[in-house]
Structure formats: C-alpha cells, structure tokens
C-alpha cells in the first residue's frame, strides 16, 4: 500500500534577474525582471509503506525542494501530494505528527539547550506518552550512544554527535515516515557506518518508511533497494539499484601500465579515456569485447607492466546518466 503519493508535482521559483553594472542595478530597482526556474518539473512517484528509497540527484536537481514539499515546508505550484492520506502543506501540524525530518545541514534541535532538554521539549511538543518516550530514549541512548553528550549544549556537539542527536529527535514521536536530507554529510567513515546501520534498523524493526537524499552513493548502495534519480526537476530513473548497475554497468575500465605510449589503439568498443605517463585508462564495453580478449590484444602489441580492471562504480554510472541527460526507461 502506498504511503506517499506524488502526482504531476511542479514547483517554480521566481528569481530576480540581476542586471550588469550600476546603471543596471538602479534600473532593476524600479523595473525588476524575473526568471522563472522550474525546480520541480512534473514529478510523479509513489512509495509503499516500509520502503527505503534513495532520492538522489546533483546539486540543484530539485531533491530538497521535493522533500520540502513532502514535509509541508513548501507549497507546490501545482500537482498532488498525499503523505499517508494528508496534504502536507494544508495540514502541516497533523502531517508533522506522522513524519520525522532530519536536515543534515541544519539541526532541528535547540542550539542553546543541553541535548536532553531538546528531547524533553520535543516530548512536550509532540505529546509523546511518557512510557513510549522512556522506551525510545532507552533504546536510542544505547544504539546511538547518546549518553556521552546528553548534557552538552547542542552548539558544542561534534557533527557526528549532532547528527545522532538529530536523528534520535526525529524518531522520538514514532513517525511512520522519516525524511533524511543528507544524513551522512560530513561524517567520517565510522560515523557514517553507524548512521547507516541505525537507519537500516529502524526501517526493519519498526517498518518506518525512509526517504533518503544523499550525495554519497555508498549510502544508497548499502541502504536502498530502490532509487529515484532526478535531474533538472525531472525523474530520470525510478527503480531497483541492481538494474541500473546491470544496464549501465556494461562499460568497464581497464588500467594498463605499458613500457611505451599507445600510439594508435583502434579497436571496436574500446576507447582511451585518460593517460598519465605510461598509465592508460581504457574504457570498453563488455558486450563487444571481453576483458580477456582486450588484454590479449594489448599484450600482443605492447609490453605490459601492470594491469587492473575497475568495476563500474555506481557514482560513475550516475554521472554518465546525468551527462547523457536522457530520461531512462528500463524494464
């Protein structure tokens, strides 16, 4: 059953056009011209209860704008949104009770308060029943190791600590859905791993629907079965992560160190994409030529010192998709 329903969603922003020079600045004081930017351009998708979805795209693709409309922060220009049956911007306060939000860049907590007081305050704001609050706190303190900084004011927390506090705060009132906007940004490897395992746990144990935006593809790889990829305000891909790998992972890269330069290497399906000294990066398509064929062809013609094959990284795949800027239909 779908818990989030988005249909033909649009959001446009009017941006005042800057005019050059002093004369331009004066002119725009009286006569201002606007550029209309479509941040979200006809997006539709639906998410089932209990799903964990990666919502990704480059900067300015419209990720945050979508999340902000789903959480009720922004009012859409047009289109339909239903979050567990509610229209978020019309029923902000009711919607707030069923969702949890973490913005990686900004804390949801009270800056000057000790962390525990922020929690107490949220308990009051969300009217969390006392026993529920106690159970959640016991659990979060254990999994997220909150005890080490529970009495420290939020402004003095390290980024990793703050993020842990923030995610605990977002889950205190047992939301059905949680929006995580870059929850691992700026975290070190250990902290990232910890955050991921926590997200996985709340999804599996509590059936919380998770919508996650991130720039870190390994977040997606480790957490999400499904990925919605957007660019320029449009959905480029919506489906399983495995499928995208299969379809776009056909090209691989062979790295060879040779004794000499490649003078002219023309072979169907192979392309020299980079060269540093004697090290060469060859992109090849699995369908046209196998790795062993390629290697034997190279060693026939050149003296090979070293050789390695790079697996397609999801990040590279995604970049390829953006660069081609084609909407992809895969089934």
């Amino acid at each position: 059953m779908s818990i989030i329903e988005v249909k033909h969603l649009y959001k446009e922003f009017k941006i005042p056009k800057r005019q050059e020079g002093l004369a331009g600045a004066l002119r725009s004081l009286f006569h201002r011209q606007y550029l209309t930017k479509l941040a979200v351009n006809d997006i539709s998708f639906s998410i089932d209860s209990g799903e964990m979805v990666g919502y990704i795209g480059p900067n300015g693709a419209g990720k945050s704008t979508t999340i902000k409309m789903l959480t009720g922060i922004l009012v859409p220009s047009s289109g339909d949104i239903r979050v567990n049956g509610l229209i978020p911007y019309k029923e902000r306060q009711r919607n707030a009770r069923q969702i949890g939000v973490v913005f990686g860049q900004r804390s949801q907590l009270w800056w000057d308060l000790p962390t525990i007081e922020s929690f107490e305050l949220l308990k009051q704001v969300f009217q969390i029943p006392a026993d529920r609050y106690r159970q959640n706190m016991v659990r979060f303190r254990k999994i997220l190791d909150l005890d080490e900084f529970l009495h420290t004011p939020v402004r003095q927390l390290s980024l990793g600590q703050r993020m842990r506090a923030d995610i605990a705060a977002a889950l205190l009132h047992d939301p059905k859905i949680i929006f995580l906007d870059e929850p691992t940004i700026g975290l070190d490897v250990v902290a990232k791993e910890r955050m991921r395992s926590f997200i996985r746990e709340i999804n599996q144990d509590r059936g919380v629907t998770v919508i996650l935006t991130t720039h870190d593809m390994s977040d997606i790889e480790k957490l999400c079965q499904r990925m919605i990829l957007i660019d320029n305000g449009q959905v480029m891909y919506d489906g399983e992560l495995a499928k995208i790998k299969e379809t776009f992972g056909k090209t691989r890269i062979l790295i060879v160190d040779l004794e000499e330069d490649i003078v002219d290497f023309s072979l169907a399906g192979v392309e020299v994409i980079k060269q540093e000294g004697n090290r060469h990066w060859l992109k090849f398509n699995r369908d046209t030529i196998t790795a062993s064929q390629l290697i034997s062809r190279i060693s026939e013609n050149y003296n090979v010192r070293d050789i390695s094959i790079q697996d397609p990284e999801i990040e590279v795949l995604i970049r390829n998709i953006y660069e081609n800027t084609l909407p992809l239909i895969i089934d």
Partner: protein, 270 residues
Amino acid sequence: MFESCLRGLKFYFYMVGVSIKTQLQYRYAFVMNILGWAMTYAGTAITMWVMLYSFQTIRGWMFWELLFLFGLSVLSWSICIIFFFHFRNMDEYIVEGTFDRFLVRPIHPFLHVVALKFDVGAFGQLLFSIVALIIAYVQLGLNWQFSQWLIFLGAVIGGTLIQGGMLVLISGVAFWTTRSERLFWTLMWPAKNLMNYPLTIFPRVIQLLVTFVLPFAFVNFLPALLLLGKTKESFAPYWGFFTLPVGIIFFTICLKFWTIGLNHYKSAGS
C-alpha cells in the same frame, strides 16, 4: 482546540524559561543591555526638558504632559519588545533556515517564532517608563478614578498590540522578499520618534495616516488626550477609548497577513 492552546502555552512558557536562562548566561551583556536602554530613554527625556525649558510649551503641551505622553509610548513599546522585538530578525530566521523546522512541528509556526525569545533587556525601558509615568502623574497632580485606570490599562495593552502588530506585519513581508529588517528601521523608527510629540504639531496627512492606516496615534497620543483631560485639540477625547479594540483588530489583521505570507514562504538554500 482548548487542549492545543494549553499545549501551546505550556510550550511558550517553557521556551520563555529557556530564553531567560540563555540571556542570563551572559551577565555583563545582560546588565549593560538593561542599563543602556534605560539611559537612552532618559537621554531623550532630558532633551525634551531642555527644549521645553526654552519654549515652555509645544502646542499647549507642557513638559510633564509630554513626559506622560512619552512614558506611555515607552511603556507599551517595552512590553512589545519583550514579546515581539525579535520579529525584526525574521529574515535571518528565513535565510538561515531556522524557520524550516518550525513548519515540521505540530505547533503553529507563529507561536514558534514568538517563543524564540523573551527579551529581558527590555526591562530597562520598562523601568524608565514606569518611573517617568509616576513622576508625570505626581507633577500633574492627577488623581484617576477606577475607570481611568481601566482606560490606561487598555491603552497599554492596545498599544502593545498595535506596535507588536507592526512588527509582525513587517516580518511578514520577509516571506515575499526574504529581506525585511531594513523596512523595520525605515518604518518603525520614524513612527516611534513621531510618537514622542503631540500629534497635532505634524501635518494633517501624517495625522490621518497614523490614525487610520497605521494606528500609532492610538498608542499614546489619543489615550493621553483622554487621560490628561486635554479637550482643546483637533481630536475629540473619546478617541482614546478605542485603543484596545483598535489594537486587537490591527493585530488580527497583521497576523492574518503573516499567515498569508506563510504560503509564499520560499525556504532558503538546499
């Protein structure tokens, strides 16, 4: 409904406690803030006195009457500061993204903004205004009946709502323009200075403007006419009765404007 109001109030008072605690953390700044404001206003009062020393009266207002007029406006302004002064920073809350989080909580965002600060620094002005009013009361030999005390109370509450409404109105502009603090300084300060003097010394246009459009005249001038029994003015004294209803209506309109603005909120950044 009642239950949600109660929850809102509980939240508000808790946040007031937090805000006071935070401000008390910086003790030196706290004391200087209170002292500084008291001194600033005392300075203005002294300037008035010097002026009146050579002119004797301004349009039939003598110094003690002016002090009353001034004290009344500072009194409601200082109460207004305690609750609403931080609305002038609305654009900052928007630009820094603080405002976003108010929209994902089951409490009205307006209450969230009100609860952000309880400005203890305003006690300096409050202190000054009470002292000034007492001195003026004694010097003018006033002896109010209960009904006049009610009018005074209405003037203080209504005046707070009118000026608070202005702050809310200006802050609401930020939903469209993202910038609003300038507007505060260009609109609010001149109006505040205007209120230090009898309205009748200003051109007719301004008199009409601050009576019917942005009702600053109801904050201190009109109630002062009534309370000081000044009948030889171009305004009939009974205008002074209306400060409280005008305040309530004006504040409601401003709040409505603010909530409309909310739908135009363009959250900043990503």
